[in-house]
Subunit: 206 residues, 2 copies
DNA sequence: TAATGTGAATCGTTTCACAGCG
DNA sequence: CGCTGTGAAACGATTCACATTA
């Protein structure tokens, strides 16, 4: 398989979500120009991204939303669902746990973990919850490949290590600390404060 | 002022947070190699970023953490605090509202907004809460420049418009929809599901 | 010696411009 | 004719390699 560059993958992922919404609204056809308006990516870049997937099935009057979405998901390997867990069930973790937006996303939340037995027993959850010391075991048992880390900074590295030991290969990290793990683990950081500071700096630079 | 490229700003923002943590731990000196270990950015890129700030004060035995942090914050315009608000006080918004990590960040949470009067009256909050229809007015009154959007997708565009009308110039958007606003407004999207899908795609491409 | 700072080269992405095709 | 797909050009960022400095 040809390697798709990361920025392209990021855009295609957004495009796929956009197309999914379009399809839900009954919009059957779209074009690179239309998608530019909706996503902010330039039409040119969009065409490049799509064509890089290797002849994305299209006709000459634009793209058919549903079909294009299918092609993107196939090429990005998003067709096969991946199991995911949430580590750290404070307010942030809890809010993601009860979030309804995972339907049809290819991401399946399978379990939650927290170091507090209290939390595990009291929290209402659509999926089973386990104590943190069982992370490695349960992750392996349930075939979980992805994790969302919403623990305090001090606990992040240890939790991450347990996850990786259990076979997790991708982590979405909210804890404000850069996880230094093996290069075979994909980590993406969502630091809310840092993001705000980036916006602030962008504003300062006009 | 020389324009600092966006990727560089993103890294510098992370570096600044890292340095702040180092300073708190009492580590007074560091180096590009040390920062590489801590952040994952290459030492070379780190030096380039720092030197691009225009002769960042250093001596030949590395950087002094505190001083380097000060230089970065100054150059990124992070010294003057910016006022921020949170729109949408569901679980996600609420968790950010009660998050303690904004201290010394240069980001000051000034207000919260929600369309439900119930939420506004019942939620315990360290800052005043207002109904959504007062967004434009209050934002202007309080001199708020930044906003965190944690409303449902349907409400996102309307909320964003109200914010911009009140003078907000930067938005951190959690609602899974691409906000198309004027080009003078900086928008950064944090789509949790999309991020997981990106990780999934990166894993699929080995 | 051990570190930064920086021109030069490399690498990768985005944009341009147009051929091709229904 | 409108829109995609794509080679080529332009741009921007990262890495390299080394001069420099205490």
């Amino acid at each position: 398989m040809k390697q798709i560059p990361t920025p392209s993958i990021e855009r295609l992922s957004v495009l796929s979500s956009t197309l999914s919404r379009l399809a839900a609204e009954g919009v059957e056809k779209t074009s690179s120009a239309d998608l530019e308006k909706r996503t902010g990516f330039s039409a040119c870049t969009i065409r490049k991204d799509i064509s890089a997937l290797g002849g994305a099935g299209t006709d000459t009057a634009g793209y058919r939303s549903k079909q294009l979405q299918a092609v993107i998901e196939k090429e990005l390997g998003l067709e096969t669902p991946r199991n995911c867990c949430i580590v750290g069930l404070g307010r942030m973790g809890g809010s993601i746990l009860s979030y309804g937006g995972f339907a049809d996303s290819g991401i399946v939340i399978k379990a939650g973990f927290d170091s507090s037995i209290n939390v595990i027993e009291l929290l209402r959850s659509p999926v089973p919850l386990y104590p943190a010391y069982e992370i490695t075991e349960k992750v392996r048992e349930l075939g979980i490949e992805l994790a969302i880390l919403t623990v305090p900074a001090e606990a992040a590295l240890k939790s991450a290590q347990r996850l990786v030991d259990g076979g997790v290969r991708g982590i979405l990290n909210f804890a404000p600390i850069n996880l230094v793990l093996g290069s075979d683990v994909v980590v993406r950081n969502l630091f809310v404060v840092d993001e705000l500071r980036v916006i602030s700096a962008l504003l300062a630079g006009r």
